[in-house]
């Protein structure tokens, strides 16, 4: 920890790059007590993710998932978005930097602009729309996309003819042609770099005909083609003639894993998965059967639920997977594209496709490289920020952190994890300045409407064309006006956009509206946003009701617009009926216990506990065994070759020395009660269950780890020449002579992974095998080494290892699942291995002296522990996060977080990043003195209670108890508001606030046109 200039430390942080990683880092830090300056060169935040159609492996709509984050970052009091700006220089040192920014002109004052769009309507200039990947046009005055934050127009001066039309049309007087670049200075304590990547430009390749033919598109262009808000409004068409394609080919590794054209040798990590996603979504979009073929080298589906996703594409959707690198794309006269390729069988095939999608990889942009140079950040050979595996989010400059794809190519959840990790790193040394520069929001007092008749305002969303393109939104709006108690109804292009929020507030005040109904999308994603809006003008957030006329209506009834309109009316009628009975609920705040429980003393747990302590809070570190260190104690080196043991030993020593960390060895979690901010956990000795301790904590991080599978396959345990990775690491540590003397060593991949029994990929084994093979080669350069694999998954920059292994003469033999290698063990000593070689197409035999099984990584069995915390595990036993994409470290239950292999097999650098991320997420809670708890909770009417214990027995969180007075008691602070007891109570003694019987009955009565009966 630096002690220099402690007094000068600044309680604000700068984030450069406002993609999904930058947004996550900003939100984490702003919610944990730091003022954040979020800088982006673009006119709005959102980055690459905003351009995506759907996200793998859940097929959630990307814009729908990210837009609440855009809005939150846009309206956050402690996040200052600085668009159109570049970081020019960074002077000073960690804790007190001076950042010089160049603020490029927008030519439209974003403070004055109301985003009314008049400037766009009058603009005579047409330009290509870069957001739609040049597949569409826009005006010179434009916003990137309708949900853009900040929502204000800008002028593209490169195409503007300066006609002055917009200046005349702008009633707000926001146009300023003379706008100049300005320079500004900001003092910050730390910097997080999240500039992201650009896509590789395939026009460099002539063979793929990208620049010669419009039907050859990049994967990002195809995302826009599939997107409902894209150039073709979600209709699957090919650019050349707008015909519906019957056959589409995806070509993998364009600009990745290729060194022939001065492109990139690394793997871009995400392309296999997005191509699978695109092929499945394209099949869904196509009105006629679509033939989708993916041409690939290795299928890299190494993430959580990815392997099953691929299975689903192949077996469920009928996507063809062809292992081949296509060498020629030949345009035909009719717009078709002839592909010549050599499949595994070896013959040369030709096939004509209607469209070709190039799975373009990631690349660091020129601007990013220049910025790194200006800041003095070291880049690695691939122009990514150089980081150590043991400090994966720290750059070469102290106080400057990195996350997302500027660190290395990676997918969204990994970027989000790193973003949180970088946030934890950036704020770690600033904790004494926490809350020093943040602003607090003054909310007006809530108005009391209890004496007033309901006056309902209804806002119907078009959601671009998501709703309005199917249902007749004006008809729904007019219908809403006829409903009881409705005094105002209108429709909006996007009800969730920032300008509409302002408009809603204005109308509520003007018309005296005291209940608000929004008919749009899912309350799951958007309810908090609208609730916050109405609270800002004094309405209790619970005087709000949503009708989901998109996800549950226009999306599923796309082909029957009239019936979708009718259903939208039904849903609005129901929402209005409930709205009339809505009541204000008080906002309860509770004191927070500013301590964190960390379960599991491996690397993830140690990093988490140290992270919490370094942020200034107490961490309870509980470990079941009698030593700290976990699985890492058996590992020799990270993938970049950094020794693991000294690092783990240092971690353990630091944890033991740190007075804020209380370590409990040979201890298990016995019982957990409480909710976010206030948990009470009973710890019990693993040796003596009667020896218990009770601790209080505001959050908990589960880092319960995993272990290596002990194979039943291949005579493991019966023959001393057959080892697992951990066995081999131990043998290397012990300088086992047998290793050096081995003449032939064979690694067998996927032992226990990607099988019927265990469908997932264990992610780390390919890398571990290659790393170990290289070590063996170093021990004995004469050793013949074979790696028998199904797909080599050296994702990201780890591809370097694969390249090196091949250069060193390590040989790779592919097998498929149905034809695995076979070992014969004569009299238990001599081994005979037979495998069918994929090139020779015939079996080959060898007598290895050493066989290393790349055994699967299993989660530790912790059924009871998970039950205590009420956290879910998937069918493989890994913990299930709140959202696969944007909440990869949180559990759905608030205040609980996960890190490390308990989540999914991962390498040590990824575990460290996730542990740091968990710290950052927990800081949102424990850095505050008080926390607001949910008002939607169950309450008991004692007169009706039969003390039957039904609630006690059905509550999944063990909250209700029958008190001494003889009726059930449910502590408001403990209740999760799930409603299980409410629906089970045989005496109808329990009510869930905001979901009362009266309110629900009013909805169903409204559905069936029954006059109010209560």
């Amino acid at each position: 920890m630096s002690t220099k200039g402690t007094n000068n430390k600044v309680g604000s942080v700068m984030v450069v790059g406002a993609g999904v990683a930058g947004i996550q880092a900003s939100l984490d830090m702003a919610n944990a007590g730091y003022y954040v300056h979020l800088v982006d060169s673009s006119s709005s935040v959102g980055g690459l993710m905003a351009q995506l159609d759907k996200t793998f492996p859940t097929n959630d709509c990307a814009m729908c998932v990210i837009s609440p984050f855009l809005v939150e970052v846009g309206r956050h009091l402690n996040i200052n978005i600085i668009p159109n700006s570049e970081l020019e220089s960074l002077e000073g040192e960690a804790g007190a930097f001076t950042a010089k920014l160049k603020n490029n002109p927008r030519y439209i004052d974003s403070v004055k602009c109301t985003a009314c769009g008049q400037c766009r309507q009058v603009c005579p200039v047409t330009a290509v729309n870069e957001f739609d990947c040049r597949l569409d046009l826009r005006k010179a005055t434009f916003i990137k996309f309708p949900q853009a934050v900040p929502l204000s127009y800008t002028i593209d001066k490169n195409v503007c003819i300066g006609c002055g039309m917009c200046e005349k049309a702008c009633l707000a007087g926001a146009i300023s042609y003379s706008d100049q670049a300005r320079f500004s200075e900001i003092k910050v304590g730390a910097v997080v770099l999240a500039m992201g990547n650009e896509l590789f430009d395939p026009s460099l390749f002539d063979t793929y005909a990208y620049s010669r033919h419009p039907n050859v598109v990049t994967s990002l262009e195809f995302e826009r083609i599939l997107s409902a808000s894209g150039p073709y409004k979600g209709h699957l068409m090919r650019p050349y003639d707008r015909e519906v394609p019957q056959k589409i080919a995806w070509l993998q590794c364009i600009g990745s894993r290729d060194i022939n054209h001065a492109d990139h040798s690394y793997c871009s990590s995400v392309c296999c998965m997005y191509s699978i996603k695109q092929s499945m979504i394209a099949k869904e979009h196509a009105e006629t059967p679509l033939d989708a073929a993916i041409f690939y080298m290795d299928m890299r589906t190494h993430g959580k639920e990815f392997e099953r996703y691929r299975e689903r594409a192949e077996k469920g959707s009928g996507v063809r997977f062809i292992r081949s690198r296509v060498h020629t794309v030949e345009p035909l006269d009719d717009g078709g594209l002839k592909l010549k390729y050599i499949p595994e069988s070896g013959e040369v095939l030709e096939e004509v496709f209607d469209m070709v999608v190039l799975a373009a990889g990631f690349a660091t942009s020129k601007d990013t490289k220049a910025l790194a140079q200006r800041l003095g950040i070291n880049l690695n050979a691939h122009s990514y920020a150089q980081t150590s595996d043991l400090t994966p989010v720290s750059t070469s400059r102290e106080g400057v952190f990195v996350c997302g794809t500027f660190q290395s190519p990676k997918d969204i959840p990994q970027s989000v994890m790193e973003a949180s990790a970088a946030a934890a790193g950036a704020t770690q040394n600033l904790s004494e300045q926490r809350w020093s520069l943040t602003l607090t929001k003054e909310l007006p007092a809530e108005k009391n409407f209890s004496e007033e008749e309901p006056k309902i305002g209804v806002f119907v969303c078009n959601c671009g064309i998501n709703i309005g393109g199917v249902a007749d939104v004006p008809a729904v709006r007019e219908y809403a006006k006829t409903l009881p108690n409705v005094i105002h109804a209108e429709d909006n292009l996007f009800t969730c956009s920032q300008d509409t929020q302002e408009n809603i507030k204005k109308i509520i005040l003007e018309k005296g509206i005291n209940r608000v109904v929004v008919a749009s999308c899912s309350p799951r994603t958007h309810e908090p946003l609208f609730q916050e809006t109405i609270r800002e003008i004094g309405l209790n957030p619970y005087l709000f009701e949503m009708a989901n006329i998109r996800d549950q209506n226009t999306w599923v009834h796309m082909k029957t617009p009239q019936r979708a309109t009718d259903k939208a009316k039904d849903l609005v009628r129901m929402a209005v009926a409930k709205a009339a009975l809505l009541e204000s609920l008080p906002q309860v705040t509770l004191d927070v216990t500013q301590a964190v429980l960390v379960v599991g003393g491996g690397v993830a747990g140690l990093e988490a506990a140290l992270g919490v302590a370094r942020q200034g809070f107490v961490a309870f570190l509980v470990e079941r065994s009698n030593e700290l260190g976990g699985m890492a104690l058996g590992l020799n080196a990270t993938w970049q070759g950094e020794p693991v043991l000294p690092y783990v030993m240092q971690l353990i020593e630091d944890a033991k020395k740190n007075e804020r960390i209380k370590i409990f060895l040979e201890t298990e979690v016995g019982h957990v009660t409480g909710t976010i901010g206030n948990f009470t956990t009973t710890l019990k000795s693993a040796n003596n269950p009667l020896d218990t301790k009770v601790i209080n904590h505001g959050a908990a991080i589960l880092a319960t780890g995993g272990k290596e599978y002990k194979p039943h396959e291949y005579f493991y345990g019966k023959n001393p020449k057959i080892l697992t990775h951990f066995d081999l690491d131990a043998a290397v540590r012990n300088n086992d002579k047998a290793l050096k003397d081995s003449k032939i060593a064979v690694f067998i991949q996927c032992v226990g992974s990607r099988t019927e029994e265990r469908a997932y990929c264990s992610r780390v084994c390919c890398i571990h095998s290659i790393k170990s093979a290289l070590i063996l080669k170093k021990l004995n350069p004469e050793m013949q080494i074979f790696i028998i694999y199904r797909d080599i998954r050296t994702y990201g920059l780890r591809e370097d290892l694969y390249k090196e292994a091949r250069q060193q003469g390590i040989r790779f033999i592919r097998y498929n699942k149905d034809n695995p290698p076979v070992i014969d063990s004569d009299n238990g000593q001599e081994l005979k291995l037979t495998v069918k070689d994929h090139i020779l197409q015939r079996p080959i035999e060898m007598n290895p002296d050493l066989v290393v099984l790349a055994a699967a990584i299993l989660p530790n069995e912790n059924k009871t522990l998970f039950e205590h915390f009420k956290v879910p595990a998937n069918s493989d036993g890994f913990l299930v996060e709140a959202h696969a994409k944007l909440r990869p470290v949180d559990f759905a239950s608030e205040g609980l977080f996960l890190a490390g292999i308990a989540h999914y097999p991962k390498s040590i650098d990824e575990s460290i990043a996730q542990a740091k991320a968990a710290v950052s997420r927990a800081m949102r809670i424990v850095s505050k003195n008080t926390i607001a708890v949910d008002s939607v909770i169950a309450s008991v009417n004692p007169d009706r209670c039969a003390a039957c214990l039904t609630c006690v027995r059905t509550c999944p969180y063990n909250v209700p108890r029958v008190g001494e007075e003889g009726y059930a008691i449910i502590e408001p602070s403990d209740c999760h508001g799930c409603g299980c007891c409410v629906s089970e109570c045989p005496g109808k003694a329990i009510t869930l606030k905001h979901f009362t019987d009266d309110q629900i009955n009013a909805k169903t009565d409204a559905l069936f046109y029954i006059e109010a009966s209560c």
């Binding site: 009706r944 039969a946 003390a947 039957c948 214990l949 039904t950 027995r953 059905t954 089970e984 109570c985 045989p986 005496g987 109808k988």
Partner: protein
């Protein structure tokens, strides 16, 4: 507690087939606790009957009330003013309810909506088991808390019989043999010798065999 099961809807519908205005009466006692005749079940039955009638194209008016207990005249008295406004009344209490109601209101027709089954308790939520047969002469202490009267298919006092197999009773693979359990428990506690003494035939006159029973507590009777 008295444990009951709801009768099938079709049976209840048949009962009220020629009635158009009915009252459903719940009970806050045992039947609420065993999730069969409390406020919630009354509401569910009410809705189910209305929906079923609507499908037949006929309407049905249903009122609902759940009283403290249907086995006390004072509580039954509470519905006096309106009880004869209905074509029929459905009681969701145990068998005691419709009888007390019929005695109090001879003009009205009362239908039982539940089948009263046994005295027992919930072993877990949703599962109730018989524990007491109300035999009138409790012998549980002889058998270490396991009652052969209620829980042996033959109410044997000296068991097990030849029908006990691998811990289960010959009547069903799902019914544990209580005598097997008694023997095991005695063995665990080192008191197997207790079972060497012959338990004489039980006097069943205190049970149903002696005819309808009555309990008179002179010190309480006013």
């Amino acid at each position: 507690m008295i444990v009951a099961d709801r009768k099938p809807l079709s049976e209840i519908l048949d009962m009220i087939t020629d009635r158009d205005k009915i009252l459903i009466m719940g009970c806050k006692g045992c039947v609420t606790v065993c999730n069969v005749g409390g406020v919630k079940e009354v509401q569910i039955l009410s809705s189910s009957l209305k929906i079923a009638r609507k499908k037949e194209g006929r309407s049905l008016t249903v009122d609902q009330i759940t009283i403290e207990r249907q086995c006390d005249p004072e509580y039954i008295e509470q519905v006096k003013a309106t009880i004869n406004d209905y074509d029929a009344v459905i009681s969701m209490a145990c068998g005691v309810g419709p009888q007390f109601l019929s005695e109090a209101y001879p003009q009205q027709k009362f239908f039982p909506a539940v089948n009263t089954k046994f005295f027992g308790g919930a072993t877990s939520h949703g599962i109730w088991e018989e524990r007491c047969a109300g035999c009138g002469t409790c012998v549980i202490h002889y058998f270490d808390g396991l009652c052969p009267v209620a829980r042996c298919s033959k109410s044997l006092m000296n068991g097990p019989c030849g029908g006990s197999s691998k811990g289960y009773c010959e009547i069903s693979k799902e019914v544990p043999c209580i005598w097997d359990m008694i023997v095991k428990k005695k063995m665990e506690q080192g008191r197997l010798d207790d079972l060497l003494c012959f338990t004489p035939a039980k006097n069943w006159r205190t049970s149903r065999d002696g005819g309808p029973r009555k309990s008179v507590r002179e010190e309480l009777a006013i």
